[in-house]
């Protein structure tokens, strides 16, 4: 068992395991971020890698072995991630199930829920979506209105969710709904919903970058079995808040993993005029790019600091809400600088007149606008930092 090895032996064992199991054709491929992208690398290799990781529990390394994890502590999980990065490998098991629902079920789920739902997540077999936001409940999430009635042997859902990422490709949905109107936060219940349930209707929404990750999801007399209740009736807000914490941490570290694949300094050297001394001739752009690179590196160090503090059992000095905003700002600035650096080469939408990299960066610029909106807007994160972390009074 990997989990029982002393740290140094563990590192060597992981090193050896990766050499034997990671398909070399996948080396350096961009890691998937949501589980809905087409497989990367030579045909069949991604599937093979996913299966091998799932067999070892390495997709969700800190989960207990009986639920499909590898039972590793955080220190060993970090070593696994380091060794993977070293080998040019990546974690093929991604998505909201692995990032958000899994850790939440481990804390709040019943034994039966864990046994049924965690292993397929850990193997990357079933994909989950998140039924939280509604047309009238965005930043003020607890204002949600989707009705959940107790019908004795089941719950009945009626209402609408929006911004449900990948709902059209998902097998299951974790959702919050209103079981009581007496209290705002104290009238919310957390449920697991099978996307094949009759009465569920999904419509994709096209975004500004032309892509449809997000959906509207309509619930019309959707039946949910009683055993799919997580926690207690009217206590779902507590479960949802914890899940949102996992979301904020997950999103900010995901983004740092993404951002690293764009080396703006080298892109600038290829696209921009250079002075005889090798620096960028446009000194205004150079200064703003340098400011961005400073923040980007300090942000990566701050993520590392937070995980080091957690691992050492210390109170993290940087709140998750602060991290989320730092990450979104770095991501937004990356997009803005990328199109500025590309100049006229950044004007393309699709087709042959532009390289793949150029189209990708322009699309990233548009996509990056969502960083400061999803998972709780920039403004909501600032409220959380100010009120919960700094103790400033509510107005």
């Amino acid at each position: 068992m990997f989990a029982d090895l002393p740290i140094d032996d563990f590192r060597q064992a992981i090193h050896d395991w990766l050499r034997e199991n990671f398909p070399p054709g996948l080396r350096g491929c961009r890691a998937p971020t949501n589980g809905h992208e087409p497989p990367v690398g030579p045909p069949g290799e991604f599937e093979l890698w996913k299966e091998r990781c799932a067999d070892a529990g390495f997709g969700t390394p800190t989960w207990p072995i009986e639920y499909g994890g590898a039972g590793l502590d955080q220190a060993r999980a970090d070593i696994l991630a380091e060794e993977m990065a070293q080998a040019g490998a990546f974690n093929p098991i991604v998505g909201l199930g692995a990032m958000m629902l899994g850790p939440t079920l481990l804390e709040f789920g019943t034994e039966e829920q864990k046994r049924i739902h965690l292993p397929p997540i850990a193997r990357g077999e079933l994909m989950w979506c998140q039924g939280f936001s509604e047309p009238g409940a965005g930043s003020d999430l607890a204002a949600l209105r989707m009705r959940c009635e107790d019908m004795g042997d089941h719950f009945l859902l009626n209402g609408q969710k929006i911004w449900t990422s990948y709902a059209h490709h998902s097998d299951w949905c974790f959702a919050i709904a209103r079981t009581s109107t007496e209290q705002k936060q104290g009238g919310i219940t957390f449920l697991l919903v099978d996307m094949k349930s009759p009465g569920l209707d999904v419509r994709p929404i096209q975004l500004i970058n032309g892509i449809s990750h997000f959906c509207e999801t309509f619930f019309n007399d959707v039946k949910v079995p009683k055993e799919n209740l997580v926690g207690e009736v009217n206590r779902g807000w507590t479960v949802a808040k914890r899940l949102l914490q996992h979301e904020r941490t997950g999103l900010s570290s995901l983004r740092s993993a993404n951002a690293k694949t764009y080396d703006l300094a080298s892109i600038a050297r290829r696209y921009c005029e250079l002075s005889p001394d090798g620096t960028l001739a446009d000194t205004d752009l150079r200064q703003r790019l340098a400011d961005h690179l400073l923040s980007e590196q300090a942000y990566a160090l701050t993520l590392q600091r937070r995980s080091a503090e957690e691992e050492a059992g210390l109170n993290p000095t940087t709140p998750v809400s602060t991290l989320k905003n730092l990450g979104s700002q770095v991501g937004l600035r990356l997009g803005e600088l990328a199109i500025e650096i590309l100049g006229n080469r950044s004007l393309g939408w699709e087709g042959d007149g532009y390289t793949d990299e150029e189209l990708e960066l322009t699309s990233l610029w548009l996509h990056s606008k969502c960083y400061s909106i999803y998972g709780g807007t920039y403004e909501i994160q600032n409220n959380i930092t100010a009120q919960r972390e700094l103790g400033l009074p509510k107005s």
């Binding site: 080298s266 300090a298 701050t302 600091r305 080091a308 709140p319 730092l326």
Partner: protein, 382 residues
């Protein structure tokens, strides 16, 4: 960067806790006001520095073989952070970091045995004479040193020289060949206090700490005063500067943290329109954004200190990251401290002004934000 960078070990935690208690009990911010009023020749309170020496802080970077503790820069960085909280004035960074590192890195056995024990015991402290021009620029050294028989003759001017007051030793960067701006031709000298041909003028600085203008007029030093290699002093000087920059950045993070906490406390207690002003969202968001900027700088500072102790090849990049971000965070926080305190923040009676003035001097010391942003950018290939 390893995780050790971000979590202090037991020895470091002990040093930090001791420093925190001492700063709280012995070095309140009123000590800086007293220093300003009394205008001491030293530019710092010798009694307080004596207590630092007793706690062993001057020996932290001295190797064990030379009678010190050999603890490393993360350790003295944690102490500097605590000193920064109350803007404690002392020659610790000039003497126990910059001069000590210069001797440890470049000194021959005679020089080490002559000076290190005296710095360690607090019998003397040392200053660094580097700056000459408007902007920090280590390769721009112009002060001349020429060989005359067996001795070197120094002519030129250095300003500002921090902590020169009653210093027993000054480490001088001088040009022994080439022209200002050349990377070759810079040599470091150990200049004892009693060297003839030097004269000093006390400068009164905004941060109330001690700084001097130093004139070298035919100052004669014997050949044994050359520290390190002749004409090849710049790389060593840059290594020493990076270490001092990282520790100074740690001090700046301590000052910034204190300025931030004082300001947040004020937002909770100052009532206008029948509510604490901290209930207003415009001010809440400014506080939240400030916290983010401070935490970025803190990560960079700890990473730089750890990189130095690990002998990392990327020390220059980490140090410039730390000094640039600490300079930005300190300046912005001090500015917000004044603004969010309103009228009272403009008064001399309130501490806001002391933080604002220190932010300016600390940023300018060993290279300001734009110096380090430019250096970081060059290292990143742009």
């Amino acid at each position: 960067m390893t995780d050790h960078a971000f979590v202090p070990n037991d020895e470091q935690s002990m040093l930090r806790d001791a420093a925190r208690g001492w700063v709280r009990d012995r070095a309140p911010i009123s000590a800086l006001r007293k220093l300003r009023t009394e205008n001491l020749e030293t530019g710092f309170d010798p009694a307080l520095f004596g207590e630092m020496v007793e706690m062993g802080w001057t020996g932290i970077l001295v190797p064990e073989d030379d009678g010190g503790f050999g603890f490393g820069h993360a350790s003295i960085g944690l102490i500097a952070e605590e000193l920064g909280r109350n803007l404690v004035a002392s020659p610790l960074i000039s003497s126990a970091v910059a001069a000590t590192d210069a001797l440890v890195l470049c000194g021959n056995p005679d020089q080490k045995s002559e000076w290190l024990p005296r710095l360690l015991s607090g019998e003397i402290h040392a200053a660094i004479a580097l700056e000459e021009a408007i902007a920090h620029n280590p390769s721009g050294v112009a002060l001349r040193a020429r060989l005359d028989g067996n001795s070197w003759v120094l002519d030129g001017r250095k300003q500002p020289v921090f902590d020169y007051g009653e210093a027993g030793l000054v480490i001088v960067a001088a040009r022994t060949s080439g022209e200002p701006g050349d990377r070759d031709g810079i040599t470091l000298f150990l200049c004892p206090r009693d060297a003839a041909g030097t004269s000093a003028t006390r400068l009164t600085q905004v941060d109330s700490r001690g700084a001097w203008a130093l004139v070298f007029d035919g100052c004669r030093l014997d050949a044994g005063c050359v520290l390190g290699e002749i004409d090849k002093g710049l790389p060593a000087l840059e290594t020493v500067l990076d270490r001092a920059r990282a520790v100074l950045a740690a001090e700046m993070i301590g000052s910034t943290t204190q300025a931030f906490e004082t300001t947040v406390e004020y937002l909770k207690t100052r009532v206008q329109f029948d509510q604490p002003i901290g209930a207003f969202q415009a001010l809440q968001h400014r506080a939240a954004e400030l916290l983010g900027e401070i935490e970025l700088a803190r990560s960079a500072v700890w990473a730089a200190l750890a990189a130095i102790d690990a002998g990392d090849a990327d020390v220059p990049r980490y140090t410039s990251l730390a000094k640039a971000l600490a300079g930005k965070a300190f300046r912005r926080t001090a500015q917000e401290m004044v603004q969010l305190h309103g009228g009272i923040g403009m008064t001399d009676e309130h501490d806001s002004g002391l933080y604002l003035k220190r932010a300016h001097v600390a940023d300018m010391t060993f290279g300001n934000v734009s110096f380090h942003r430019d250096r970081f950018a060059k290292l990143a290939g742009i």
